[in-house]
């Protein structure tokens, strides 16, 4: 097991480096020039040159990359071109808000979907299975920004029981009732797609395991049905965890549309602003941090999977 952990950690390093290069390069592949955005259209060539030198944009790309990487490793992501504030501060604040939404959404989605999927997977072909499959299809197919708007109309405009937007403060305070109320609608909206995907994955994983020969052996040995199910779920869990990790990563990117609908100051909201402003340092920093989180989450899922299924460790 220890050897497997070390192998996986070492394998993550080149992935992280590759991701950082892609992040850095992506911004230069996109059309538009940050300096042009900052300056008035009639700025003279000398001013443009000065600004470029100021941000280090006049040097060769590989040098820029290495310098950027060196600074990033020390925690210095530079200053936002739009606001002039340190990028790290902006990332941490908005990312914290997104982590809150993503974590809650995935946890809720997992709890609901795992139960639904298990019920359906044990009774494939019954009406229960059809209902669960229906819920799963709905969850995946309803556009979540549309669902967000509908929920706002129902609960904020008509019933007036939940707030429509914002988060009532700069940082989340779990003891504040008002803060909790602000979380409800965005979390519900964001959890719909993961519910659908996780429920479907669980359903097929459980159905497959329940058809395996060892389930007959467990019954032939007189184990009560809940123990049989416990064995089956332990076998079905690894693929479900993998999907859950991917969903968490996707939500971490922050749904730009959903965060916009709820004016939620998260990373998606910030990314969309940074793109509009051609705010290169913010873009690079945010994408890099998000990618690292994605890599870390997947690594965690891998390690968790291998602790559940010993056969993975040999691979």
């Amino acid at each position: 097991m220890f050897g497997y952990v070390v192998r996986r950690l070492l394998a993550a390093i080149p992935i992280a480096l590759g991701v950082s290069m892609v992040c850095f390069a992506l911004v230069y592949l996109a059309p538009g020039d940050p300096v042009q955005t900052l300056l008035p259209p009639d700025a003279d060539a000398e001013t443009v040159e000065r600004l470029k030198r100021l941000y280090g944009l006049d040097r060769p790309l590989p040098i820029q990359y290495l310098e950027w990487l060196w600074r990033v490793m020390q925690g210095d992501f530079g200053k936002s071109i739009a606001t002039g504030r340190p990028v790290l501060d902006e990332i941490l604040r908005s990312l914290g808000n997104t982590v809150l939404l993503a974590t809650l959404s995935v946890l809720i989605a997992f709890s609901v979907a795992f139960i639904l999927g298990t019920i359906a997977g044990r009774r494939t072909g019954t009406w229960l299975d059809r209902i669960v499959t229906g819920i799963a299809v709905l969850g995946v197919s309803i556009p979540n920004y549309w669902l967000g708007i509908v929920l706002v109309i129902i609960f904020s405009v008509e019933l007036m029981v939940l707030p429509a937007s914002g988060m009532a403060g700069d940082t989340f305070d779990p003891t504040s009732w008002e803060h909790i109320q602000h979380v409800v609608l965005p979390v519900f909206t964001l959890s719909m797609i993961p519910v659908g995907i996780i429920a479907r994955t669980t359903r097929s994983a459980v159905a497959e395991v329940m058809n395996q020969e060892f389930v007959v052996t467990l019954r032939a040995n007189g184990l009560p049905e809940w123990r049989v199910l416990r064995h089956a779920l332990k076998n079905a869990l690894p693929p479900v965890l993998a999907v859950m990790g991917l969903q968490f990563g996707t939500l971490m990117g922050g749904s730009i549309l959903v965060e916009t609908v709820f004016s939620w100051p998260g990373s998606g909201f910030m990314l969309s602003k940074a793109i509009l402003n051609r705010d290169v340092p913010v873009l690079q920093g945010t994408i890099l941090v998000l990618a690292m989180i994605f890599v870390t989450v997947n690594l965690t899922v891998d390690l968790f999977q291998s602790s559940l299924d010993p056969r993975i460790r040999r691979g």
Binding site: E213, F214, N221, G222, L223, K234, P310, R311
Partner: protein, 325 residues
């Protein structure tokens, strides 16, 4: 006369789908005395495994219909509720499966799987179950038993896995052991070891064993009595020696003639012509009639009733009656 341990009377099993229904086991009767070893012999699809699974009611309840009587250790298996069924499975009756790789939960250590069964049936702690598992591993001669308890199924060789499977089946000292082709998936040398082990354990523990196989050699080695199945019916049953020496049913005779043992060299083996029947479209009379060298017109129309030409022997063949009586 001793009380029979298991009595199966007029057992039939139908597999039902929305379109059709197939009778996989047809009017099977047998009794097992305590300590008796019976071999169920037959080709693939003749209903041997289905009969075994029906005895423990392991067939999927929605897709199968079991009719007839099954009594094991004085209890009516057909009438059991879920709790009684659970208590019987794994303790009074247990089963060894053909493929030990797929029969174990792949993500749980084998020692813990045995310990779980022991603790469920005996109400002891998991640690006590592990201790029992260790004793069992030594009983079935698994080398470095202590270490192997912590092995996952994929870490054991085929032979060791089957030994662990036997340990699991014996964990609660069953009165009746159902061994469903336990050696078929193993290498020839390992097959013999496992067979010798099973025979020794049967003698030491005095349990009854129903041994399903398609290997006549295995049957001769281990059984007191043989039941030959063809197309869902027991076509012949009798003491192993009598049956081997003088098979009465043409199918049994054909099986014996097609084995490698005691045959003259440099001669092609005799085979039974034709193929086993399609269970969905059985012939109206004797199912073996289309392949039978002695079949007459009556065989094609009449299902042969069971006859007892000699004490302890029962045959379902119209030709036998005419010869022996």
């Amino acid at each position: 006369m001793t009380e029979p341990l298991a009595e199966v009377s007029n057992l039939s099993v139908d597999f039902v789908t929305r379109e059709s229904s197939v009778r996989a086991v047809n009017d099977v009767n047998f009794t097992m005395l305590p300590g008796e070893v019976m071999c169920m012999l037959g080709e693939s699809g003749s209903g041997k495994s289905v009969t075994m699974r029906a005895l423990m009611r392991l067939l999927p309840p929605k897709r199968s219909v079991i009719s007839g009587g099954i009594r094991i250790a004085g209890q009516d298996v057909q009438a059991m509720d879920a709790t009684a069924l659970r208590r019987m499975r794994g303790s009074t009756v247990s089963m060894i499966f053909q493929e030990p790789m797929t029969a174990f939960d792949p993500v749980v250590r084998v020692g813990d799987q045995i310990a779980e069964v022991v603790s469920v049936h005996r109400g002891v702690s998991h640690a006590a179950g592990r201790q029992r598992a260790l004793d069992l591993f030594e009983l079935v001669r698994i080398p470095s038993a202590q270490r192997r308890l912590d092995a996952y199924p994929h870490e054991l060789s085929g032979g060791l896995r089957q030994r662990a499977m036997i340990a699991l089946a014996l964990s609660c000292e069953p009165k009746l052991l159902l061994a469903d082709e336990p050696t078929t998936a193993l290498d020839a040398t390992v097959q013999i070891q496992v067979l010798i082990l099973l025979r020794r354990l049967q003698q030491e523990m005095g349990m009854s064993v129903i041994f399903v196989t398609h290997d006549l050699g295995v049957a001769a080695e281990i059984a007191d009595r043989v039941a030959v199945m063809y197309a869902g019916r027991v076509v012949e049953t009798g003491p192993v020696r009598d049956l081997m020496r003088r098979p009465l049913h043409p199918y049994t005779a054909g099986l014996l003639a097609s084995t490698v043992h005691d045959q003259p060299r440099d001669q092609d083996l005799e085979t039974i012509p034709g193929t086993p029947p399609d269970m969905r479209h059985l012939p109206p009379g004797c199912a073996f009639a289309p392949r039978c060298p002695r079949a007459g017109t009556d065989c094609i129309t009449t299902v042969p009733p069971p006859v007892t030409p000699a004490p302890g022997r029962i045959v379902r063949c119209l030709r036998v009656e005419a010869e022996l009586v």
